[in-house]
Each structure stands twice: as structure tokens, then as C-alpha cells.
């Protein structure tokens, strides 16, 4: 049983100054489901992306069945017997289901330079039928199917050739219960055939139920490998975070009353194709959470509040009656926004930290003849960069040099400098290590106590439960659940509303 299939040896990967994976070594056996757990940014996906040729390896090796492998892309990885089902959508729009399944392996159907499409479709349909997904037609465009069905197509694509290792990277969070059962069935089949699954999931009960062995990473460092049978969920949490997960990681208070004062009211907001009839009120000093699947429209809610949506209907009104319809109005009325797409929408990448922090506040940084004052800008940037303890050499440094967490700190420094009262934070801790995460949670708690109001949009259910006074769950562009802060709230009650 415990024959070694894959040896991970001294693996390292850095992005700029971020050490994503540091000297990680462990073994994966044949015929097991091997779970990889760890907080966001702990290096799980980076590791599997190197295994499947999506990222290049900085140093260290993968030894598969005694042979060192260096896949340069996914097709090469497939040829070595490694495949992946990714977190986000992994099928290509504009291609048929069959073309997606055989992407990179079309040569099988090519005869004298001509592709035999009907043979390809036949073969693909046969596979789909075998998997029990017969309702998906091989010759249809993949765009005709919804997210779930496209995931099923991906499962076929990743497993039809009996790979030695299948990586399943946080696929389950995107699936409904039915889709999950389908995936579990395939996982069991692959295991029973003596092949290996590397399973990445944030859902610890699921990890305990589905896996044989669990390896934990934290901040890019290998922590431990344990047998699933020997551990509890709390043990896993402790491994992931490095200490007991209570106390001041999230807010500790419960039952504090939220002020009656409404600072922002959103009424019947619709963005075609994204969100439908969204109405809610944000109170002074409240942290209002939005949860849901990535495609549920919750990210668009943030943009709509900030006046950044294209073709928005309905109204977003501040306490003083101001209508928010565009970004400059939002900013001048003390609203702030951090985007999920940090590199494109939050920070101006190829610009200095100073300019990034000063941008919305330039109007206040003038001196002689209303001209900009270099001195004031420098002082302002230094002050707020220091308040957020941004790790940098000086404020002339370009933002593109910084790690994800530090970029987020720059964005927050910008809005703290602007002294905004209403903050819309979309995925504020996305891809950020645990230390900075904690800083951000504490900052949010402090702001809340100062009477600032926060809309927090997040795909991490634990942080919503830990931080928010009230959580609205989105599904298919509508609000599908409304949950109040409570120590009894758990992830399952949120998930129930999400899918």
C-alpha cells in the first residue's frame, strides 16, 4: 500500500521578494488521497502548479516513480502522468467540449495533417458516457454549459488517460452538493485503481472524510504530514495557523449592538448579467459581509456601491442624500474601495508607493499657488506607509516590487490617509500571509470602533464569520441569505445558502 509515488525534494519558489515555497520535502504514496492544507498563501497551489508545469521550479525536484520530472507545461505534465483540475474555470471558451477534453493531445486524431473531428467527438462522447455525464454533448460548445457542467468536463479532461497523479485544487468550493458527490465518486475510483490524488481544500471536514494522508504548509514552509485517521479538525487548524485559533485573530466580541444610524443605503441595484435587485443598508460602525461563490455577483456589489459598475440601475445613497453614481463622487464623499483584482484595479503597479498613497488626496497636498508640494506628498506618504508598516526601502520604490500583502497595505494606507468613513473591501486578505491578515483584521476592528463602516466581500467563509456583524450570502446575482453575528455560526450554514 505505502509504496512511494512522488517525492517532493527541497522545493523552492520565489515571486519577487515573496518566498512562496521554501525548501519543502515530503512523499506521496500510491493509491492514496493526499490532502494539502494551509491558509491562503501558504504555498499549496504554488507547489502543485510547479508539479503540473504551470510555474517553473526555482530549485528542488519532483521524483515520480523514481524518475525526476521537469514538466515545462501542462501537456508535458500530462505525458508524465500528472494532471490538474484547477480552482477557477479551466475550460477554454470558444472551443467544443471534445476540443477541450483533448486540448494539447489533438495529435491522436490527426491524419496527414488533417484533424478527424468526428472521430474526436465520438471518442469524447464515449468518455463522457463512461463517466455518466452523457447529458453533456461532446460536439457542443463548452460555453453552452454552466459552471458545474464545465467542471465535469474538466474532470474528464484531467482523468481520462489514467494519470498517475491527479491534482484537485480547491475544486469543491465551486460545486454544488451533487457536483461534489460526482467528484468524490471519481476520486474513489482513481484511488481504487492504484493512482494518487493530491487534494487541496479549505473545507477541513471534507479533507478528513476524503483523504488518507494530510500534509500541512504554512507560509511556504512544510509543517507536518499526518494520517487522517489520527487527527481532528482542531488539530488541523492548529497545524495550519501554528497556534490555537481563538483570541484576537478575528474580533472577539459578540452581541454588541450595531448603531441604528444608516450611512449607506442601496436600493434595487441591478447590473445586467451580474446582480439583480440588490437592496441593503449599511450602519455606522458596522462590518457588513458579503459571501458566496466567486461567480455569485458579490464582487460586483462592491463595484456597484462605489459607482464603478457599468450600466448600473437602482440607487446608492449616502446618509446626506448624495447619490453615488461615479467613482470621483464616491471618493469625495469619503468612500473607499479595494478591489479583488489588486494588481489591476487597486494599485497603479508601475508607479511609486508615494504617488499610489497620495492619489486620492492630492487636492489636500498643495502649497504655494495651489501647486502640489513635493514635501507634503512625501510626508503624507511616509506617515501612512509607516502607520500601515509597509515593508519598503522608501516611498520612491515602485509598487510592482512589493509582495501581495504589502501592496494591500499600500492601498489601505491610501484610504486611511484619505480618512474615508465607508470602506468597501473586496477580498482584503486574498493571497496574503497570516501575519498581515491579522494586521488587517485588527485594523478593521479598530476602524469599526472609530465609527467607520465596512462592507467586506470575501470568499473565505471563516473570515466573514469571524469579522462581520451581519453576513449577506449571494447566489446567482441575488441575496439568498441574511445571517447575524453569532458564535454558533459555522461554515455549513453559509454554504447552505451559497449553493
Amino acid at each position: 500500500m505505502s509504496e512511494v509515488r512522488l517525492q517532493v525534494q527541497n522545493l523552492c519558489k520565489t515571486f519577487g521578494i515573496t518566498k512562496a515555497v521554501q525548501n519543502v520535502s515530503f512523499n506521496v504514496n500510491k493509491g492514496e488521497v493526499h490532502a494539502l492544507i494551509g491558509e491562503n498563501g501558504s504555498g499549496k497551489s504554488t507547489l502543485t502548479n510547479m508539479l503540473t508545469g504551470i510555474y517553473s521550479i526555482d530549485s528542488g525536484t519532483f521524483v515520480l516513480d523514481g524518475k525526476e520530472i521537469h514538466p515545462k507545461n501542462q501537456v508535458e505534465a500530462n505525458n508524465e502522468g500528472v494532471s490538474i483540475i484547477v480552482q477557477e474555470l479551466g475550460t477554454l471558451s470558444g472551443l467544443t467540449v471534445a476540443e477541450n477534453i483533448f486540448l494539447g493531445h489533438e495529435d491522436r486524431f490527426v491524419n496527414r495533417g488533417i484533424k478527424n473531428t468526428s472521430a474526436m467527438n465520438r471518442e469524447a462522447q464515449k468518455l463522457l458516457d463512461q463517466y455518466g455525464f452523457g447529458r453533456i454533448r461532446a460536439n457542443a460548445m463548452v460555453d453552452d454549459y454552466n459552471f458545474e457542467d464545465r467542471k465535469l468536463v474538466e474532470i474528464v479532461k484531467a482523468t481520462y488517460f489514467n494519470p498517475k497523479i491527479v491534482v484537485i485544487d480547491e475544486t469543491t468550493t465551486a460545486l454544488s452538493q451533487e457536483g461534489r458527490e460526482e467528484l468524490y465518486k471519481q476520486m474513489n475510483r482513481i484511488r481504487s485503481e492504484g493512482n494518487t490524488i493530491i487534494f487541496i481544500s479549505h473545507d477541513l471536514p471534507e479533507v478528513l472524510r476524503m483523504s488518507d494522508t494530510i500534509t500541512c504548509l504554512r507560509d511556504g514552509v512544510y509543517i507536518d504530514t499526518v494520517k487522517s485517521a489520527d487527527v481532528t479538525e482542531d488539530d488541523l487548524k492548529k497545524l495550519m495557523v501554528g497556534r490555537e485559533v481563538t483570541g484576537d485573530y478575528y474580533r472577539a466580541d459578540y452581541g454588541e449592538a450595531v448603531s441604528d444610524e444608516v450611512v449607506l443605503s442601496v436600493k434595487d441595484v441591478t447590473v445586467p448579467g451580474q446582480i439583480q435587485d440588490i437592496s441593503f443598508e449599511l450602519h455606522k460602525g458596522e462590518i457588513l459581509g458579503f459571501g458566496g461563490l466567486s461567480e455569485s455577483g458579490m464582487h460586483e456589489v462592491g463595484k456597484a456601491c462605489f459607482g464603478a459598475s457599468f450600466d448600473r440601475k437602482g440607487s446608492v445613497t449616502l446618509a446626506d442624500g448624495t447619490q453615488i453614481n461615479d467613482i470621483p463622487t464616491a471618493i469625495s464623499h469619503s468612500m473607499a474601495y479595494t478591489s479583488k483584482d489588486r494588481d489591476n484595479e487597486s494599485v497603479v503597479m508601475n508607479q511609486s508607493i508615494r504617488d499610489n498613497i497620495c492619489l486620492p488626496s492630492l487636492g489636500e497636498l498643495t502649497g504655494f499657488l495651489h501647486l502640489l508640494s513635493r514635501g507634503k506628498m512625501k510626508k503624507f506618504a511616509n506617515e501612512y506607509a509607516a502607520e500601515m508598516s509597509v515593508k519598503m526601502v522608501n516611498t520612491d520604490q515602485f509598487v510592482s516590487d512589493l509582495s501581495g500583502g504589502n501592496k494591500q497595505k499600500v492601498v489601505l494606507a491610501r484610504w486611511i490617509g484619505k480618512n474615508s468613513d465607508i470602506l468597501v473591501l473586496d477580498s482584503p486578505t486574498r493571497g496574503i500571509d497570516i501575519k498581515v491578515k491579522q494586521d488587517i483584521y485588527q485594523l478593521m476592528d479598530k476602524m469599526r470602533k472609530e465609527g467607520k463602516s465596512i462592507i467586506m466581500i470575501s470568499e473565505e467563509l471563516m473570515e466573514l464569520i469571524g469579522m462581520c456583524d451581519r453576513i449577506l450570502i449571494m447566489k446567482d446575482g441575488r441575496i439568498n441569505g441574511d445571517l447575524q453575528r453569532s458564535p454558533d455560526l459555522d461554515e455549513n450554514s453559509l454554504i447552505a445558502k451559497m449553493v
Binding site: 471618493i331 478591489s339 503597479m349 508601475n350 504617488d355 492630492l362 495651489h370 502640489l372 515593508k391
Partner: protein, 323 residues
């Protein structure tokens, strides 16, 4: 662990020092180049260049003024190939209106330039067509109109204009444009907004900059500035032919790139690029003419120099942001 982070911070600092050293070299290169080229040509022409400095300078005004507007466009990541046609059309307008009133002619020239800039801006911003495609189209379109208007005879200006052809006036006008441009770029939020758009348009938008409006207005502004340059052009040449303003866009582009302007714009744009670049370009071309290079050889030479400078100054990391 703490030791490790310390180490990486130190090496990071060294790395940054190295980077800032490279960027210092890059920013010094055009200035050094200007001095070297100037000295070399003076030696080659046995001092003829310095004796004819006023002739050399007289070629710089139009380029430098128009380059100021294009500099703004390039800073926010766009390009403008219609500058030559803008100069041609505006020059014709200046000539025609000058027969009525000279001050009115100046205003009319600016208005004509601004109008063409507005057309560029409209198609770029509202129809979301890439700026180089839009401006190549308007370049041909307005070149056609220039040819049509000048088909029977060159369009001549009022005699009053020719009397105004003094270095003092031309120099003053150029200085005003450059100084106002310098202050606006470095000491108002205009410059920072432009650089932010060039360095990351979406993020700039989310930081509260009205990016679409700004992009449109910059094209109008660049057109207006070149419309003003048309006045200087007309008092210098007196009349406009079918080739009036031809290839100004390439001259500007080469001048800016020679001056160290990153072709992708963004945060590394410096106003000094305009001044040094225009000077370097004029010294180079006049010098080459003085030592007897033919027009054909000159174009070849310009092409080679342009390619080399773009290769040196292109910021490959941000190349994808060209708009």
C-alpha cells in the same frame, strides 16, 4: 527567521541601488549624448554649427512645442501619428485667417488643432479604438484634405506674418509652452494623473481619476498645442504646401525617445525628455546635413537611431500597456 528577513531586506536594498544606478545611467544618457553629439559635430564642421546656432535653433521651435503635447499623450500610454497633419491643417487655417487678423489666426489655428485632437480623442475613448490606429487614420484623412486644399497652389499667409519672423518671438512662444507644460506636469495633479493612467489605467480609475475624460482632453490639448505651433511654423515658412507638416509625428517620436522617454509612458516619464530630446534631435539632424548627408541617407540613419533608442529605453515589463 528574523535573520532571514533581515538578509533579504539588505539584498533587496542592494538590488534597488543597482536598479536606481541603471535608471540614473538611462536618464543621464540623453544629456551626455547631447553634449557629445554637439561637440562631435562642431569638430567635424570646424565650428560651423556653433556659428550658425541661430539657424539650428530656428528648426527646433515647432518640434519642441508640438512634442510637449505628444509627451502628455505618451505619458498616459497613448501615441499620436496625426501630428504632422494637424500642423498642416492648422497652418493652412492660420494662413487663411491671418489675412483678416493675426491674433484671430492664432486662435483659429489652435481651434483647428483642438478639433482634430477631439476627433482623435472621440474615436480613441468613445469607440475604444487603439490610439495608434485612430491617429494613423486621421493622419491620412487630413493629409488628403491638405493635398486637396493646396492642389492648385500653396496657401500663403498675410505679409504681416512674415514680418513677425524673429527669433525672439519664436523663442518666447516656445519657452512659454515649455514652462507652462513643465509646471503643469510636475506641480499639479495633472502630471500625476497622467502618469497614473500610463502606469495602470484601471487602478487610476479606481483611485478617482476621470480617466476617459482625461484621455479625451489630452488629445484635444495636444491638438491645440500643435495648432499653436502651426503659427510659429507659418511665420517661419510663409506658406503651406501639400507636404506642410509632413513627418512631424516621426520627428516628435524620435525626439522624445532620444530624450529618454519610455515608449510606454507611465511613471518614468520626465518633462526633461521633451527638452533634451528635441535639442538632441535637431543638433543631430542639422549636424548630419552640415556634413553633407543626403536626405535618403538621413532617413536611414534616423531609423537606425530610433530603433536603438527604443530598444534601450523600452520598459519590457510594461510593454503590454501600450494603448
Amino acid at each position: 527567521m528574523a535573520d532571514k528577513t533581515n538578509n533579504s531586506a539588505v539584498s533587496k536594498e542592494e538590488q534597488l541601488k543597482k536598479l536606481s544606478f541603471i535608471s540614473m545611467i538611462r536618464s543621464l544618457l540623453p544629456i551626455v549624448g547631447l553634449v557629445v553629439v554637439f561637440l562631435v559635430f562642431n569638430t567635424l564642421t570646424k565650428g560651423r554649427m556653433i556659428k550658425n546656432i541661430s539657424l539650428v535653433m530656428s528648426q527646433i521651435y515647432v518640434t519642441m512645442i508640438a512634442a510637449t503635447g505628444v509627451f502628455f499623450i505618451m505619458t498616459m500610454g497613448g501615441l499620436d501619428f496625426s501630428q504632422g497633419s494637424i500642423l498642416g491643417i492648422s497652418s493652412i487655417v492660420v494662413c487663411m485667417v491671418s489675412k483678416t487678423s493675426v491674433p484671430l489666426a492664432v486662435v483659429a489655428g489652435i481651434a483647428a488643432g483642438a478639433a482634430i485632437g477631439a476627433i482623435n480623442g472621440f474615436f480613441y475613448v468613445k469607440r475604444k479604438i487603439k490610439s495608434f490606429i485612430v491617429t494613423i487614420c486621421t493622419m491620412f484623412l487630413f493629409r488628403g484634405i491638405i493635398k486637396y486644399l493646396t492642389s492648385s497652389a500653396p496657401v500663403g499667409g498675410s505679409a504681416k506674418l512674415v514680418l513677425m519672423n524673429t527669433d525672439r518671438l519664436k523663442l518666447t512662444c516656445t519657452l512659454i509652452v515649455v514652462i507652462v507644460g513643465f509646471i503643469a506636469f510636475n506641480f499639479t495633479r495633472f502630471g500625476i494623473d497622467l502618469r497614473a493612467i500610463g502606469a495602470g489605467e484601471k487602478a487610476a480609475k479606481f483611485a478617482g481619476i476621470r480617466t476617459d475624460l482625461m484621455k479625451f482632453l489630452i488629445y484635444v490639448l495636444a491638438g491645440a498645442i500643435t495648432g499653436f505651433a502651426a503659427f510659429i511654423n507659418v511665420i517661419k515658412v510663409g506658406s503651406v504646401t501639400a507636404s506642410g507638416g509632413n513627418q512631424l509625428e516621426t520627428q516628435i517620436l524620435i525626439a522624445l525617445v532620444l530624450g529618454g522617454m519610455p515608449i510606454t509612458g507611465g511613471a518614468k516619464s520626465r518633462f526633461l525628455n521633451v527638452i533634451i530630446g528635441s535639442l538632441l534631435y535637431i543638433v543631430l539632424t542639422s549636424g548630419l546635413t552640415m556634413i553633407g548627408l543626403t536626405t535618403q541617407a538621413m532617413q536611414l540613419f534616423q531609423g537606425v537611431v530610433f530603433l536603438i533608442f527604443v530598444a534601450v529605453f523600452a520598459d519590457r515589463e510594461s510593454l503590454k500597456v501600450i494603448k
